[in-house]
C-alpha cells in the first residue's frame, strides 16, 4: 500500500433542508487502498459519495481528490474518478460495447485507448462474452459487470462504488468481490459503500463506520473488531427451546439471549467450551450448536450505535 493520500475529506457538511445528511465528516484514503464506508441505510454514505463525484454540492468542508480541489478543479476531479452507483446506468437499447464507447466518449478517449480498455474490461471484468449484446438482453449480474466496466473505461485511478453488490445472491456477490480485488491488484484505489458487514470485512483494507451522517469509527476491520467489537463469545443453540433451563444450568456464566441463542461471554471462551457443553448434556439439555464466534463489524456497529446495521430502510 502506498503512502500517498489520494482522497482527503475535511469537515464535510451537507444539509437537506433541516436535516444534516453529512455532519463534519473527515477521512483520507491512501493510494491503492480499498476503503469502505459501512453503515445502515440513511447514514449518509451515498450523499458523501455523490459529493465526492461532483454530483451534489456541499455546505462546508474541503475535498481533495488526486491532488485536485473538488470545487476549484471539479473537471479534473471527475476525470480521476470512476463512479459506479447502485443502479445500472446503461442504455438498454445499446449494446454493451456501444455503452462502453459512449462512456469512453464522455472522457474524450481515443479509439486506440478505447480498444485497450475494452480488452482490459474483458480480461478483468469478464464482459467479452456479452460485448455485442444489448443491455436489455443481459442478466442482472452481467448488467452490473457491464456497469462497472463502463464506470472505469477511462482508466481512473480512483473507483467509487456505491453499494456494488446490493441485491446480489451470495455467489454473484463473491464474484463481484473478486472483481474488486482485481481492481486493487491493478493499483486502483477503491472507495465503496456498503451495509453488508461481511463485504466490508472481506474486501476493505480500512472501514469507516457511518452513523447519522458522522463517522463513528475508522480503522482496519480486525482492529475495529478487536478494539470495539469485544472478545469472542460462545454461542449455544439448545434443542426444544429449553433456553430457560439452560440459563439456569449456566447461571455462573455471563449469559445473554439473542434470538433464541445463548451467548456466553468469557475472557477465553475456548477454555469453557467443553465444560459448558458437558454440563448441559449431563442435565438433559441437548444442543444444536455450540460455537465460538469472533466479534464482527456488526458487533462493532451495535456497540457504537446500540442497534443492528440492517434495522433501517430508505436511504436518501
Amino acid at each position: 500500500m502506498g503512502q500517498k493520500m489520494i482522497i482527503e475529506v475535511e469537515g464535510l457538511v451537507k444539509h437537506y433542508g433541516e436535516v444534516k445528511a453529512v455532519d463534519g465528516v473527515s477521512f483520507s484514503v491512501e493510494e491503492g487502498e480499498t476503503f469502505g464506508l459501512l453503515g445502515p441505510n440513511g447514514a449518509g454514505k451515498t450523499t458523501l459519495m455523490e459529493i465526492m463525484c461532483g454530483l451534489r454540492r456541499f455546505d462546508q468542508g474541503k475535498v481533495t481528490i488526486h491532488g485536485f480541489d473538488l470545487v476549484k478543479d471539479s473537471i479534473k476531479v471527475r476525470a480521476s474518478i470512476g463512479f459506479c452507483p447502485q443502479e445500472t446506468l446503461l442504455y438498454d437499447l445499446l449494446s454493451v460495447r456501444e455503452n462502453l464507447a459512449f462512456s469512453a466518449a464522455l472522457y474524450s478517449m481515443s479509439s486506440k485507448k478505447f480498444k485497450e480498455r475494452v480488452e482490459f474490461s474483458s480480461k478483468v471484468l469478464g464482459v467479452s462474452e456479452f460485448l455485442k449484446r444489448r443491455v436489455q438482453q443481459l442478466s442482472g449480474g452481467m448488467k452490473r459487470r457491464a456497469n462497472l466496466a463502463a464506470s472505469i473505461i477511462h482508466d481512473p485511478p480512483i473507483v467509487i462504488l456505491d453499494e456494488p453488490t446490493v441485491g446480489f445472491d451470495p455467489t454473484i456477490k463473491r464474484e463481484f468481490w473478486e472483481l474488486i480485488r482485481n481492481l486493487k491488484s491493478y493499483g486502483k484505489t477503491v472507495l465503496l459503500s456498503t451495509h453488508d458487514m461481511y463485504e466490508a470485512d472481506e474486501i476493505c483494507d480500512r472501514v469507516a463506520i457511518m452513523e447519522k451522517g458522522k463517522i463513528a469509527a475508522l480503522d482496519k476491520p480486525h482492529v475495529l473488531k478487536k478494539t470495539i467489537g469485544g472478545e469472542p463469545s460462545l454461542h449455544i443453540k439448545v434443542k426444544e427451546s429449553r433456553v430457560k433451563k439452560a440459563l439456569k444450568i449456566l447461571e455462573k456464566y455471563k449469559c445473554t439471549v439473542v434470538a433464541d441463542e445463548i451467548q456466553v461471554s468469557a475472557t477465553n471462551p475456548w477454555e469453557i467450551m467443553t465444560e459448558v457443553s458437558d454440563k448441559l448434556v449431563s442435565q438433559g439439555v441437548y444442543t444444536d450448536k455450540v460455537e465460538i464466534v469472533e466479534p464482527s463489524l456488526e458487533d462493532v456497529f451495535i456497540k457504537l450505535s446500540g442497534r443492528r446495521l440492517t434495522e433501517e430502510e430508505g436511504e436518501k
Binding site: T88, L94, F102, A105, L106
Partner: protein
C-alpha cells in the same frame, strides 16, 4: 471521439433503436403532408352542398342564374321541390344553404327588371356561410350583367401584385408547413433530451464525467438537429411531389434559415428539458408552448390577423422571423442580403436561449 459527439452519436443511435420514436418521427410529417394535400392540394379547396328550390314558372332565366352559380365549382346543387323539405336538410346540416327561386322570377326580371331570390345560409359555420353568400352575390351580379347588359356605376380595375412568385393558396401554405418541424419536431425531440436521461438515471453518468454543460447541450442539439432534419426532408419531398407548388427552392438560403429556426426550437426544448422533473411534464409543456406559438408566428395565417397587442408578442418570438424568412425565400425570391436581419435575429435569440439553457442546466440539473 470527443464528448460532445459522443452524446450526439449515442442519441442518434438510440433514436434509430427506439422503433416507436422512429416510426412517429417518420409518420408525423407524412400524415401532416397527406392531410394538407387532401385539404389544400385541390384546385378549389372548398365544396359544399347547396339546396335549390326552383319554383320559377318559366325557368329559362332562373336556370341561367343557377348555371352561373354552379360554374364557380364551389358547390354541389341538390334539388328540392319545396322549401320546407330543403330547410329540414339545412337543419340536419346535410346542406349548407338553401336557394329558393320564386314562381314569377323570370317574369318579374323581364318585365320589372328586378326579382327577389331567397338565400338561407347555415350560420353555424361562419366561414362557409361567408363564402356561400359572397359566391352567390357575385354570381347574381355576373348573371345580371350578362343577361340584362347591366353596367356597374364604378368599375374597379383590379390587379394583384406579386413580388417574386405568383402564388396560390398552396404556395402560401407550404412555407408555413415547413415551419412545423422547426417548431414542433425540434422542441418535442429536444424536450426529452435531459429529462429522459434523468428518468433513466443515466444523467448521473454524464454529470459524473468531466463533460461541461455546454458540451452536453451541443451534443443533444446535434442529435435533435438530425432528427428535425429528417422530418423537414420528408415534408419537403412530399410537398414537392404531392402539391407541386410553384416555389423558389433556394436550398442555399433555406438551409441556414431552417438550421437557425431549428436551433431556436431545440434550445427552447432543452430549457424545458432542464426544468422538467418528469418526461410527461416536459412533454406536456413543450406541446402546449408549440401549440400556442404556432398562432403567433404566422405559420398558417398572417400575424396581421392577430389583435395589435398579440402582434407585438409575435414580433418578439424568433420563430416568427424564421417563418417569414421561409416565405420570403420561397415566394418573394429573397436574397442573402434580404435575410440578414432575420438571420442575425435568429442567431442572437439562439445564443440567448443556449445561455439560459446552460444556466438552467447548472441551476436545475447540477443542483
Amino acid at each position: 471521439m470527443n464528448s460532445t459527439m459522443g452524446i450526439a452519436v449515442k442519441d442518434i443511435k438510440y433514436f434509430f433503436r427506439e422503433r416507436g420514436t422512429l416510426f412517429w418521427t417518420m409518420a408525423f410529417p407524412i400524415l401532416i403532408m397527406l392531410l394538407f394535400t387532401a385539404i389544400f392540394g385541390r384546385q378549389i379547396p372548398f365544396n359544399a352542398t347547396i339546396g335549390l328550390v326552383n319554383n320559377d314558372n318559366q325557368p329559362t332565366l332562373s336556370e341561367g342564374l343557377i348555371s352561373v352559380f354552379n360554374s364557380t365549382g364551389l358547390f354541389t346543387i341538390k334539388n328540392f321541390t319545396t322549401q320546407t323539405d330543403a330547410l329540414k336538410e339545412l337543419n340536419a346540416t346535410t346542406v349548407r344553404a338553401v336557394i329558393t327561386i320564386p314562381q314569377n322570377f323570370s317574369q318579374d326580371l323581364m318585365s320589372l327588371g328586378h326579382a327577389t331570390v331567397s338565400l338561407v345560409v347555415d350560420g353555424t359555420s361562419p366561414d362557409a356561410a361567408q363564402l356561400i353568400r359572397s359566391a352567390f352575390k357575385t354570381s347574381v351580379v355576373a348573371y345580371y350583367k350578362a343577361v340584362l347588359n347591366y353596367t356597374e356605376p364604378i368599375t374597379v380595375d383590379e390587379e394583384t401584385s406579386f413580388v417574386g412568385q405568383k402564388v396560390g393558396y398552396k404556395e402560401n401554405l407550404v412555407p408555413g408547413m415547413l415551419c412545423y418541424p422547426l417548431l414542433f419536431s425540434s422542441m418535442v425531440v429536444s424536450t426529452g433530451a435531459i429529462v429522459y436521461e434523468r428518468e433513466r438515471g443515466t444523467l448521473k453518468k454524464i454529470r459524473a464525467s468531466p463533460i461541461r454543460p455546454i458540451n452536453v447541450l451541443i451534443g443533444k442539439t446535434i442529435a435533435a438537429l438530425f432528427q428535425t432534419a429528417i422530418t423537414i426532408l420528408i415534408m419537403a419531398v412530399l410537398a414537392v411531389t404531392l402539391l407541386a407548388p410553384a416555389l423558389n427552392w433556394n436550398v442555399q438560403l433555406l438551409i441556414p434559415i431552417m438550421f437557425l429556426g431549428s436551433m431556436n426550437g431545440i434550445a427552447l426544448g432543452l430549457i424545458i428539458s432542464c426544468i422538467g422533473r418528469a418526461p410527461q411534464e416536459a412533454s406536456n409543456a413543450a406541446t402546449t408552448i408549440a401549440i400556442v406559438l404556432q398562432f403567433f408566428i404566422g405559420m398558417y395565417f398572417p400575424i396581421e390577423y392577430l389583435p395589435t397587442y398579440l402582434q407585438q408578442i409575435g414580433k418578439v418570438i424568433p420563430m416568427t422571423y424564421a417563418a417569414q424568412a421561409l416565405r420570403d425565400i420561397m415566394i418573394r425570391n429573397a436574397t442573402f442580403a434580404d435575410l440578414l436581419i432575420p438571420m442575425l435575429t435568429l442567431t442572437l435569440s439562439a445564443a440567448i436561449l443556449y445561455g439560459i439553457g446552460v444556466l438552467l442546466y447548472r441551476r436545475w440539473v447540477e443542483k
